[in-house]
Subunit: 328 residues, 2 copies
């Protein structure tokens, strides 16, 4: 047990951070034989609260936790990072236009991309969770160009995948482990497309098991696209623990070989697959050999899927165009 | 993977519950080969928020999570339970006397003890986390008498043990895994005694490694006893995630064989060991064979330890006397 993975986490004192840090430190992300160091980034004003979180991490006596450091400067927090989990972002506030939101966060992710390029390990992998996560990841990737390979950047759609699997399993009356090959296409936003046509239930094509296509195209898609709002309405708080769990699932999915019949969802830098413009951060079905990911090839989206993919692509192109000047 | 453990959790919509449920559902408590059903108890008024938590659990697509049920009646929530984690309790409010606190919670744990006796499995094990946890556990145990064996009741002191291990490891400059045989004696309150005299560091007696006895008897003890308040001061919220982690550690500690050189801390029904009156819920060092616990015998507390143990015993006897009429 000699290896220590250095994990940088932004927005560490927030609700997702609080749900995430203890799971990482317990070994849930990198397994029971890998030690971790947590390098936590927060705004200066949140460092006192973060110190309380650090004390609680200490109070767990986690055998795998090598240490915890804290900083308000990404040039310190990202130093030597093997993984950077970019959880923190500025949420949309009342009266804020979509372009304002893109540009405010664009500033943060420009600085973080430059800092990653300057001080992280050259093999560092970066998962962006803070929304709008696809375009935030695009900006970070562009600003780290020449130092970190573009293949090392991801934006999170795994929460959507897990939500889709759960709803499909419930509809089919099977355990979640029976549902495979579900993936989220496009943007992690309300235009996302949780493609069910290529999914399998118990190894069979899903459309042969769930024959209610109206439900799949209608209520199912709407439920997944609007699930975040439904949680906020019920809990009075956003979905922190399930988002944190999806971070764990994404990193595990990208660092362990993908089991047969399963896919990992994440937005990655498009290689032109399925007509998605090269260089755009777009959600695809992925598989992993434990070290690098591969976009699943050879699928043949039907007309319905093509329409949905075109809609989410249009949104992502607009987002990219709104922040073009932030990318060198 | 045929076994499903039914775990009832009270106060499930609270902060500790939110930090705990996802770790149980992920397999952290009962291991990767055991399925779980979570049966959640909350006040009627908190059921809508709890529904949001249930949705988030669903949204994790945990392969080990068989199901989640919710109730406001302990007679429903405890039905068929293999484990009951009694997390919910009424916190002390401004102007509330200690006896008021004991009696208000006494009412809750009387009802829960009776419900456990009526509907839980006869082998159900019960861990009380809600404070004052020793006396709450005593009341639940007394009210479940004749149905559940007294050996199946525990009150949580594992957070204190973990805190003590972390502080001792830091002082000695060693990893936490090097610190063994630390245990919390007595009440989970400011009178608790985290006994360091029997502890070992790297297999050696701790007093031979940490030679600063003034620090051990002074600052160390005070730090552990007052750690909860220090966390609240820093975070602006109580220590939910580290408490939840201690719940995981306690149940794992009681359901897996204790490694050599390690102890598990919990308050259990005294068998008269070390002069502690039989029947009192008192924190002891324990070991487990994976099925039942044993109080560690044959230790010889020195005068300092004897004084500390007497002080925390005095408090627990007073607590018991204040709620005597609640125990049949």
């Amino acid at each position: 047990m000699s290896q220590t993975i250095r994990v940088a986490i932004t927005g560490a004192a927030g609700q997702i951070g609080y749900a995430l840090l203890f799971r990482i430190a317990s070994g849930a992300m990198f397994g029971p034989a890998t030690r971790v160091h947590l390098s936590l980034l927060e705004l200066e004003a949140a460092l006192p609260a973060l110190e309380g979180v650090r004390m609680e991490l200490e109070d767990c006596a986690f055998p795998l936790l090598d240490g915890v450091s804290m900083a308000s400067d990404p040039m310190k927090a990202f130093e030597g990072a093997d993984w950077a989990l970019l959880v923190g972002s500025v949420p949309r506030k009342a009266g804020m236009e979509r372009n304002d939101l893109l540009r405010i966060n664009g500033g943060i992710f420009t600085a973080q991309g430059k800092a990653l390029a300057a001080v992280a390990k050259k093999t560092c992998r970066v998962l962006v969770v803070g929304n709008p996560c696809n375009t935030n990841a695009l900006i970070a990737m562009a600003n780290a160009k020449g130092s970190l390979p573009k293949e090392n950047f991801y934006a999170m759609t795994m929460l959507d995948q897990n939500r889709a699997i759960a709803q499909l399993a419930r509809k089919a009356g099977v355990p979640v482990s029976q549902v495979g090959r579900v993936a989220i296409w496009g943007n992690h936003s309300s235009t996302q497309y949780p493609n069910f046509y290529d999914a399998q239930i118990g190894g069979k094509p899903l459309p042969e098991v769930i024959r209610d296509e109206a439900w799949l195209q209608g209520e199912f898609l709407a439920t997944i696209q609007q699930r975040g709002a439904a949680i906020i309405k019920a809990r009075g708080a956003s979905s922190a623990a399930s988002a944190a769990n999806a971070v764990v699932d994404t990193v595990r999915g990208l660092t362990t070989p993908t089991p047969a019949g399963a896919w990992v969802s994440a937005a990655v830098c498009s290689d032109g697959s399925y007509g998605i413009p090269e260089g755009l951060m777009f959600g695809f079905p992925l598989t992993s050999d434990g070290k690098t990911h591969t976009i699943v090839k050879g699928l043949t989206p039907n007309e319905f899927s093509k329409g949905r993919i075109a809609a989410t692509l249009k949104e992502l192109v607009e987002e990219r165009d709104a922040v073009k000047d932030l990318m060198p």
